[in-house]
């Protein structure tokens, strides 16, 4: 990794403990440090119970570390309050979940509009951008369908379009192909590659599948709340 590259995630000595001060106090993350640069496609792998989800919640500003330092795209997360955390999640992070988490009662297009709605984007601009994003993931013919009327792969494509809505600094993907068959999983992976290569989008990809992790530029292995390995994947960093 070249040093002149912009640092998106800069986490140092992150600890996460639960039930603090009680007899059943639990430490999930034991001083994790993580640096992710702009344009990187990083995989974090680990067995269940290794602390992946906890780490993802912290990276995604859904949760604060108990101890440590965390700068996300130049913002100090440790000092942010609830309202600021909401704004960070809204503008800097695009979540892609294993279970899609689309809002079922509204159309696919409305789902894509939602982050922009919370960001105060005017209605006309919002719809325009949402349509463009839907076209990007090849879902422009289904934008008025509700999530119930879409297949798993289609739902995940809508979810990716939604994650890209506010052009976030980072796409945070939690097992995005975990609920998909290998073929549709492939389609979804290809979209991530495309976003990474063509738009230079920074992606942090959490998975327990070693094969998918191999496709990323850098693979970090998490075990029992600590990184135990870091190696390069098969894909090289874009020029």
């Amino acid at each position: 990794m070249s040093k002149e590259k912009e640092l998106i995630i800069d986490a140092k000595n992150i600890y996460k403990r639960y039930y603090i001060g009680q007899p059943n106090e639990l430490e999930i993350l034991h001083g994790i440090s993580l640096k992710v640069y702009k344009g990187e496609f990083v995989a974090i792998v680990g067995a269940s119970g290794s602390g992946k989800s906890t780490l993802m919640n912290i990276i995604g500003a859904l949760d604060k570390p108990t101890e440590g330092e965390y700068m996300l795209d130049g913002v100090d997360i440790m000092k942010a309050k609830d309202k600021e955390l909401s704004a960070i999640r809204n503008q800097k992070i695009g979540f892609v979940f294993q279970t899609y988490n689309l809002i079922s009662r509204t159309s696919a297009l409305k789902n894509v509009e939602l982050p922009m709605l919370y960001n105060g984007v005017p209605s006309k601009e919002r719809i325009e951008r949402a349509k463009k994003l839907m076209a990007m993931v090849d879902m422009d013919e289904r934008m008025h369908h509700t999530p119930d009327e879409l297949s798993g792969g289609q739902k995940q494509r809508v979810a990716i379009a939604r994650a890209m809505a506010n052009d976030p600094a980072i796409l945070l993907c939690d097992e995005p192909t975990g609920a998909l068959d290998s073929h549709t999983g492939r389609v979804v992976m290809d979209i991530f590659h495309k976003l990474n290569e063509e738009q230079g989008k920074t992606i942090v990809f959490i998975t327990h599948s070693p094969e998918l992790a191999e496709e990323c530029q850098r693979i970090l292995t998490l075990s029992d709340g600590m990184f135990i390995g870091e190696r390069e994947g098969k894909v090289n960093a874009p020029a």
């Binding site: 709605l117 919370y118 506010n166």
Partner: protein, 430 residues
């Protein structure tokens, strides 16, 4: 912008869960409908009664002589002695007389349209050959006569002239029934006839100058021939008959339009009592008006419909609790949605807003349905009771505002609960 989106979202949610929404709103619908129905019926009743009373003369003030309320004294032992009225029968000086009435007419020439002076000279019989008619002889001044006989009820002849009054001439106006009995129904034949009226075995003679159309009471049980009808004479003629100067136990005063009847009534009462009845030990004058009766009736009706409305309002409370219950269930069901929204950047405030708006929309839609239902029920109810249906704008505003208040009040707790959810737990919720 977010608010508009929230409203649209809430409406689409309402449409998606029609049955559930309807059941949730049912309490609100019934509550609002009953409150509005009761108000509409009450309102219709009040306004019908009001217009009836106005026809009867809401601008009239009755001035009557009444007994003074007994004064009481409590001695040092705590015993109460009632000092009862000294006299219960009215003597001549206790009555209202022309001097007093002239005085007040001159004191308030602008406010008083006229005073009806009436005197009853008793009941009598008129007999011509074998035919007879019963009459009650009533003295009227010109203003009173105009009130007693509408111009279109005068069938023949004329009303009294000025000199009839001033000279207390022995003229009279009789009814058409009277003519039926004595002149075979020929009203013009009666004009100019002298008739002898026998009152308590004394004979009095009058000249008929006019015939009016008698309005039979609906509930009259006597036959037409036996009906006692009024024979009007000038008021001073009646007093001559009675061998008395003018005296009235009650007169009716018509106020000019635009006069505040209630305050004027009190002013007149105070004036007469201070000036003429200060030294009278047993009697005083008291006044009352249709408008004061109307006012007390209206306020009673309003109180009654308010009381019933409050009882009906309890169902609104129950409805509101129903809304809260459903909102809590809905939030539980949509925990993941809340988590997702938070992950996408929704602040606590926007989540709270979303659910409060949803609750308000639910209540307002219920309120509007209830309002229409209530208006229909109210119209049908008023119809059945025989009043013209009259909905109040107030109750419609009330329906909308109150259902909104219910929405906010019962939506706040669930919405706040949603807003306080931890996004991580909410996202993981199965």
């Amino acid at each position: 912008m977010l608010l508009l989106e929230n409203i649209l979202m809430a409406l689409s949610g309402l449409k998606a869960n029609k049955m559930r929404s309807l059941l949730t709103m049912l309490g609100i619908i019934i509550g609002i409908a009953s409150v509005i129905a009761i108000n509409t019926v009450g309102n219709s009743m009040t306004s019908s009664i009001q217009s009836e009373f106005e026809e009867m003369g809401a601008n009239n003030i009755s001035i009557g002589v009444s007994q003074k309320s007994s004064s009481s004294e409590t001695d040092e032992w705590g015993m109460t002695f009632n000092e009862g009225p000294h006299s219960t029968t009215m003597s001549d000086e206790d009555y209202l007389n022309d001097d007093i009435l002239t005085d007040i007419s001159e004191k308030w020439p602008e406010d008083i349209k006229g005073i009806m002076r009436e005197a009853s000279a008793g009941s009598g019989t008129v007999t011509i050959n074998d035919d007879y008619a019963y009459v009650s002889v009533k003295g009227e001044n010109d203003f009173g006569l105009d009130d007693a006989i509408d111009d279109d009820k005068l069938l023949s002849g004329r009303k009294f002239k000025n000199r009839d009054y001033t000279e207390a001439r022995k003229v009279c106006i009789v009814s058409d029934y009277f003519c039926n009995n004595l002149y075979a129904g020929d009203t013009s034949a009666a004009i100019g006839q002298n008739v002898k009226v026998v009152i308590s075995n004394k004979n009095y003679y009058f000249t008929i100058v006019g015939v009016y159309e008698y309005e039979d009471s609906e509930y009259s049980s006597t036959s037409e021939a036996d009906t006692e009808t009024s024979m009007y004479v000038p008021v001073d003629t009646a007093f001559d008959l009675l061998h008395k100067d003018s005296q009235y136990s009650e007169v009716t005063l018509a106020t000019a339009s635009g006069v505040n009847v209630d305050s004027f009534m009190e002013e007149v009462q105070d004036y007469i009592n201070k000036r003429y009845y200060r030294n009278n030990e047993s009697f005083e004058v008291s006044t009352f008006s249709m408008s004061s009766i109307l006012e007390s009736m209206t306020s009673q009706l309003t109180m009654m419909s308010l009381a019933i409305s409050i009882i009906a309002g309890i169902s609104l409370l129950v409805g509101g609790i129903g809304v809260m219950n459903i909102m809590l269930v809905s939030i539980q069901e949509r925990t993941r949605e809340i988590g997702t929204r938070k992950a996408l950047g929704a602040t606590n405030t926007s989540i709270r807003l979303q659910f409060i708006v949803e609750s308000i929309v639910l209540c307002i839609v219920g309120g509007i349905i209830g309002m229409f239902l209530g208006l229909i029920l109210g119209a049908v109810g008023s119809e059945k009771l025989g009043y013209a249906a009259r909905a109040s704008t107030g109750s419609i505003i009330f329906a909308i505002v109150f259902s909104m208040v219910i929405g906010v009040f019962f939506g706040y707790y669930p919405a706040n609960k949603a807003a306080q959810m931890n996004p991580i737990d909410a996202l993981r919720y199965e």
